[in-house]
Symmetry: C2
Subunit: 215 residues, 2 copies
């Protein structure tokens, strides 16, 4: 096994360190977060940091980089309190990745990619039409992470749109059927194949597969 | 497309809602977090919420559920300031899942599963021997999330152990080679297959695959 200590990490060339450290969390979620400014300029950007925070109330979080540079997503969030989270699927990885380019603030990434704005459920922020799972969220809080000046944005789920045949009878969404992808590091996209679903774990009880219980 | 609004979500049966809302973030990371108490009782538990917070300094975060119930991981973190993050791979998904059973606080999950404690780099907390990527972290902060009484734990990377042939020349770790798995919802484990690595995105520049640049 290769051993790397902190002193070594701190001396690494910047891009090498970015590639290495971004690989450490394991696989990351791949989502397009879309917002619209009060003067109706839309914004969509890829995020690999969306996480589940809780089911009741239904809460999701994501990390925003330091806001010293102009961050359209942050400004729109604060002024409109609305955003959508849209799963990246294998058919749109290039369009999704392209949203990470630094476009001028007056230009919508929707215009510059083949991603399509979709408006529904009387929601102000656009959904991404190409996504098979679309989530409309209300901003509820944001936490400043003093160690590196990032912010964790917390949103409550208000609207859900799910393509047919993805949800199972017990509520679970089969992300393989949704063709949702996952991110490895900063620039690698992977598709996932289900290995198993396991029963609720209890002390001294053997785990069983619950895959065949699905309908 | 199926539409579910917030009113509907709030009326769902509990387990159905847990399955649904836990699927919304997209694929989650699968890690075993291990700690040791001051009186030398070890603890290891699976977490699907480990995220990348930043590369310089190298920071990772994860979410701890409300601490009203006894949480060994939390107590050990606060008293020792050390933990390890260990990637779950496809060969240990059952052992990893079993760590979520509610064992008595005096019992180590290492004893109750076939996972093995490993001590190295003079680190107090145990690494999980079976993991191909092992990370020793120092606790640096924790943020109380008032919306649902969770905490985001922030750790700095101090030690890294990476199995041979996983790291590429540009620093990136190929998680497919590491056989790292990803989590869909609360109980589904998936393996991932690389689709592509894409070049750094710039306005008006065509993306290219950087996969063939790897050695």
């Amino acid at each position: 096994m290769q051993y790397i200590n902190r002193e070594h990490i701190d001396k690494l060339e910047k891009l090498y360190r970015v590639n290495l450290i971004n690989s450490l969390s394991g696989y990351k979620s791949a989502n397009l977060i879309a917002t619209k400014s009060k003067d109706e300029i839309t914004n969509v950007a890829i995020f690999s940091s969306v996480i589940h925070l809780g089911s009741n109330p239904p809460l999701l979080g994501f990390i925003l980089r330091p806001t010293s540079v102009v961050r359209n997503t942050y400004d729109n969030l604060m002024s409109t309190k609305q955003f959508t989270i849209n799963h990246v699927n294998k058919h749109i990885i290039k369009e999704a990745h392209q949203t990470s380019a630094k476009y001028d603030g007056n230009i919508s990434e929707f215009e510059k990619t083949h991603l399509t704005e979709e408006y529904k459920a009387d929601f102000f922020a656009p959904f991404v039409k190409e996504a098979n799972i679309q989530i409309g969220c209300k901003l509820v809080n944001n936490y400043f992470i003093e160690e590196n000046q990032c912010r964790m944005i917390v949103g409550e789920v208000e609207h859900l749109f799910i393509e047919d045949d993805i949800q199972q009878e017990d509520g679970w969404l089969n992300l393989e059927k949704a063709e949702t992808v996952t991110i490895n590091g900063v620039d690698a996209y992977a598709e996932a194949k289900l290995l198993d679903r396991l029963s609720y774990a209890k002390p001294n009880k053997k785990l069983t597969s619950i895959l065949n219980e699905e309908k």
